[in-house]
Symmetry: C2
Subunit: 338 residues, 2 copies
Amino acid sequence: MPTNRQWILKRRPEGEIAAGDLEFREAPLRSIEDGEVLVRNIYLSLDPTNRIWMSDQDQYLPPVAVGDVMRGGTIGVVEASRSDRWKEGDLVNAGLSGWQSYSIAPGAMLNPVPQIPGVPLTAYMSVLGATGLTAWFGLMDIGRPQPGETVVVSAAAGAVGSIVGQIARLKGCRVIGIAGGPDKCAWLTGDLGFDGAIDYKNEDVGAALDRLCPDGIDVNFENVGGAVMDAVIGRMNNFSRMPLCGMISTYNATGPVPGPSDFARVLMRRILIKGFIVIDYLPRAGEAFAELAPWVASGQIKWKTHVIEGLDNAAEAVKRLFTGNHDGKLLVRISPEP
Amino acid sequence: MPTNRQWILKRRPEGEIAAGDLEFREAPLRSIEDGEVLVRNIYLSLDPTNRIWMSDQDQYLPPVAVGDVMRGGTIGVVEASRSDRWKEGDLVNAGLSGWQSYSIAPGAMLNPVPQIPGVPLTAYMSVLGATGLTAWFGLMDIGRPQPGETVVVSAAAGAVGSIVGQIARLKGCRVIGIAGGPDKCAWLTGDLGFDGAIDYKNEDVGAALDRLCPDGIDVNFENVGGAVMDAVIGRMNNFSRMPLCGMISTYNATGPVPGPSDFARVLMRRILIKGFIVIDYLPRAGEAFAELAPWVASGQIKWKTHVIEGLDNAAEAVKRLFTGNHDGKLLVRISPEP
């Protein structure tokens, strides 16, 4: 058996993830048993929610225990199988198998990777993976955009936000993205067809929203929280909707993070706010895939992946999610594609 | 023509309503014109939202202009009619005709008062009026309680809260009310069938919720905001719902009022928060009335009215809503019932 290489949660970060919070180790792999499969992981997904899992705050899954392999989503290839569901060489979605080069799982816990001609494997870790499902369900199930409405999305150049904006555009909405830096903003309006982009690092977000959303805001797809969220909520219309997908600006906070600075507006404007987690929608994944896959195959939706080479760089790479120093969906290539 | 007696908004309150914010005056009544009706107002509804209307904060209706008659809902009797819709002696729901002894309105702007044998006229200003509709739509359309779920309602002995709790009980829920003082709490559990009551003035609300809601909270019908709201949200379950009806604890605040103190929980627990205003539901009023009216007629829902005699006492009486020094739906009797 090969040796496994793993990242362990050594201690819970305080504030930003620091050296020593995660520890790299090598560990022997046991043999697989009846019904099990050995998966060589190829791609690891790095996501803002990783920071939540490292903490012991109240959250939607149990926190990663200190001493355990760090949790993370992977795609891999079957290297050995004692399950009649899988054979050597099959590509599998290994779920939350963790930051490690190999994983062993019951065959029933793995899922096939759909394969569309011309679509790269990395797409199933981004636009056609959990990222795309997050965007589609949050927007369509909670945001419920109507043609002609104004949709604002924060972290708009991020993996989820960039898909949200393109779906909203395909649904006939006016789409304004909020992102950090002129290059990201230029990508949104120049390549993705956003109607406007706001560089929160160099612009007054409120003033820019006033200019770009003259009819107010009908859907706020919320990814960041904090002051940017407040600026958007302050311009939301009667009966508007706010899918609460994430609050990345707050994940390194060391205490509870307050809600909207003017909560009366939620009452006065009859705003709907709904938190959601993509795992709740997995049983309905087919609905999203049926709409996303043709858009991806036909080039109507674009996406970027930012691939970091080597599992040993994962702990450094995950920090990029919080500095914005990445360009598209952040992945680690653990081993080569077959 | 008789003389009209009116309360004018003289200046906007800062914090609590103070002497001099409202001014009583007498004014001549003009003659009615073709299509118009002269209504002698009988009951005036006093509601927490009156305080919102007095302010110039962002709100769901235009603020009452300084110098205008204070806005308020009334029921009255037709004293003179030049509309073929109404004749002298008809009881009418005069809508937001204001704090005055008479009002003149186009006949098309008035609505009939339904009359169920044995049900007093005041019921149409409370359980079978806007109060009951507020309770029913907030709970049923947003809260969507399921049998066996736990429903918490704040300001539970108030006009809306007491109806909310009884509807939830009739729907098969476990119902916990939060109210101020032992008498109100005893009324909830002793007379209204609440499963538990928490006296926020004399108990630790969080500890009491832990004791009374061992399975967490599925619906939070929010009437008060502030620390009580935070204690409830901190115990809300996955996929729970929070109809945001009001935040009376904050209406005298002189600046913006922040949202939940731990907003991450809205994400982690996938909580739905939705602000609502009863006027949005008026076109659907029949749905609520169809369920409420039989409950009221059969005695399955109880309610209290606290009637203040005389329009000249209205400005002093409205303050009771913020001190809790009232017992049930607060009304002013402007003139005798026919």
